[in-house]
């Protein structure tokens, strides 16, 4: 079972339907966590949402508790939540991407995806990861083709994955494939 933590976003149920293609999904609000379902889940997903990771201390606690014990996936704010918990700095961007379609490129060889492969993706984010970012076992695996902003991370050792863009958006091509790969990793 996949447990999705909703940060009151207007895109969360697209995420739910996308993950339901692969497994049973349970989705609860971040301030109404069902502990027994959370404990039973094999995968935890942090949803997109408004604001910044520091607004959701309960999600940070869940991340730290289950890191290395369950597969963890973060999307947009959820991606930032993971980075924030790994001491990454989340900052405002000069150019803001809301409803934006852009190209991201696989920049690493040590990843589930082929190096230099490009994906067309949908973006909704005001904030981004400030670099340099270094954390044990983490690697930035995709970047915006134009601005070079970090767009995906992988930690294949502890099974932690994140996308700054929205694989569930209609603006993302092959979004299901991206999710399928990290779920079967």
């Amino acid at each position: 079972m996949i447990y999705i933590i909703d940060h009151k976003d207007s895109f969360t149920h697209n995420v739910v339907h996308q993950f339901e293609k692969f497994d049973n999904v349970c989705c609860d609000n971040f301030n109404r966590i069902n502990e027994s379902k959370l404990n039973k889940a094999q995968v935890i997903v942090f949803s997109p949402g408004p604001g910044s990771p520091r607004d959701y201390p309960s999600s940070s606690r869940i991340y730290k508790k289950f890191k290395g014990k369950k597969k963890i996936i973060g999307i947009c704010l959820g991606f930032q939540q993971i980075l924030y918990c790994e001491n990454g700095k989340i900052v405002q961007q000069n150019k803001i991407y809301h409803g934006y379609q852009s190209k991201v490129k696989v920049v690493s060889t040590n990843t589930l995806f082929k190096k230099n492969q490009k994906f067309t993706v949908g973006r909704y984010h005001s904030l981004k990861l400030q670099e340099p970012f270094v954390a044990k076992n983490f690697e930035i695996t995709m970047r915006c083709d134009i601005s070079n902003t970090a767009m995906a991370i992988e930690n294949n050792k502890e099974k932690i994955y994140g996308f700054q863009f929205h694989p569930e958006s209609f603006l993302t091509e092959n979004g299901n494939l991206l999710i399928k790969k990290i779920l079967s990793a």
């Binding site: 976003d9 149920h13 339901e20 408004p50 803001i96 409803g99 904030l127 209609f170």
Partner: protein, 387 residues
């Protein structure tokens, strides 16, 4: 009787009535046997009980009316601080006993001529609008909202003949979700173009509009589409609404059934082109009318995104109640089928005072002057009726 005769007779009768655009013309509903004034307390029960009514196999087996903005916030647990207002009911529904089909050609001669007051007062001048605008831009930069709509109101005091107004409005703007309500102490006329819910059996669709272009001689439908596609700001706003509506539908629809049926197409109206998408899905088995309403309302395209945090921002900034504006008008049938629009481009006339509310979106690259003027242009189409 012709449509004109029906209008003449209903105009004379002083009976409350409702007119709603249908696919081929208009439907007139009257002879109301029940009138339900909604409060935060009775709304859930009201909605839940509609489908418990026994079907009489009549075309009047339905409740028709509107949900105001405040009640829709209440239904999804979003609080609104005490606002200034005119104490207008939060929602009203009627049970009609008579339905008459009217043609598209509505004309009506007023019984007496009324001298109309053409002067309107705005509740928010450009300076205060600009202030709110700046605050919201900061909120967009910090990621609390991606898009937000500021509402401004134009008001004047005058008695109006609503049937005359509505008929003239349908001549200047034949909108697919147009409606009017006339009751003893209030009336509403609207040329809403936007359908929020069409539900027949287990199929539900929504048709958000984001992007409007005024017609000109140089434009045609193909050129309008090119304009929208080239215009990055309109495209981004539209994309956001499409993903948000997909998500709202996904709450209540079978997994995998939500589809974009028409993606970013142009619809042509008398004076405007609209940038429109159509999204649909198959409802889950145990979904109630209340579940549908709570998932879809208030309609995302007139609020902003993400819905809940944006509503909270709006409700702390806007000092006056929105009343009917960005609520929904429509009907729920006894069999659970429903149709609802989003109440925009409307006049609320209550106690001989008219209120026209308009809003335009703030996204990161919006320009304050442009949006303020955009609001004025939207309101002007309705203010022009006062002559």
């Amino acid at each position: 009787m012709t449509s004109q005769d029906h209008l003449k007779s209903i105009g004379k009768s002083k009976k409350p009535f409702v007119i709603y655009k249908s696919s081929k013309g208009f439907d007139l509903y009257t002879n109301f046997s029940k009138k339900i004034i909604l409060t935060n307390k009775n709304t859930k029960n009201f909605i839940n009980n509609i489908t418990k009514n026994k079907s009489k196999k009549k075309n009047t087996d339905l409740f028709i009316g509107f949900f105001g903005y405040e009640i829709l916030n209440n239904l999804i647990g979003v609080k609104i601080k005490r606002q200034m207002g005119i104490n207008f009911p939060k929602g009203i529904f009627y049970k009609p006993e008579k339905k008459i089909k009217l043609s598209n050609n509505l004309s009506y001669k007023p019984l007496k001529s009324i001298k109309l007051n053409k002067n309107f007062k705005i509740n928010l001048n450009q300076a205060s609008y600009s202030n709110i605008f700046k605050k919201f831009k900061k909120k967009i930069k910090s990621g609390e909202t991606y898009q937000i709509k500021i509402c401004t109101k134009y008001r004047n005091a005058s008695e109006i003949d609503v049937l005359d107004f509505f008929c003239r409005l349908t001549k200047s703007n034949m909108a697919p979700e147009a409606f009017m309500i006339k009751d003893k102490n209030y009336s509403i006329i609207s040329c809403s173009p936007e359908n929020l819910i069409t539900k027949r059996r287990h199929i539900i669709t929504t048709k958000p509009i984001a992007g409007t272009l005024k017609k000109s001689k140089k434009l045609n439908k193909t050129k309008a589409l090119e304009f929208f596609k080239r215009n990055i700001k309109e495209t981004k706003e539209h994309n956001m609404i499409v993903d948000m509506e997909r998500s709202d539908l996904s709450r209540i629809c079978i997994s995998g059934s939500v589809k974009i049926l028409k993606k970013k197409t142009v619809e042509e109206y008398k004076d405007l082109y609209h940038y429109v998408s159509l999204i649909g899905g198959k409802l889950k088995k145990k979904v109630s009318s209340l579940d549908i309403i709570r998932a879809m309302m208030p309609g995302g395209s007139v609020i902003g995104c993400p819905k809940i945090s944006t509503l909270n921002l709006l409700n702390t900034q806007e000092k006056e109640g929105r009343n009917i504006y960005t609520g929904s008008f429509g009907y729920i049938k006894f069999n659970g089928d429903m149709r609802f629009n989003i109440i925009i481009r409307s006049i609320l006339n209550y106690k001989n005072c008219s209120e026209i509310s308009v809003a335009s979106g703030v996204v990161i690259d919006s320009n304050v002057k442009h949006e303020f003027n955009e609001n004025y242009i939207k309101a002007k189409a309705l203010m022009d009726l006062y002559r």
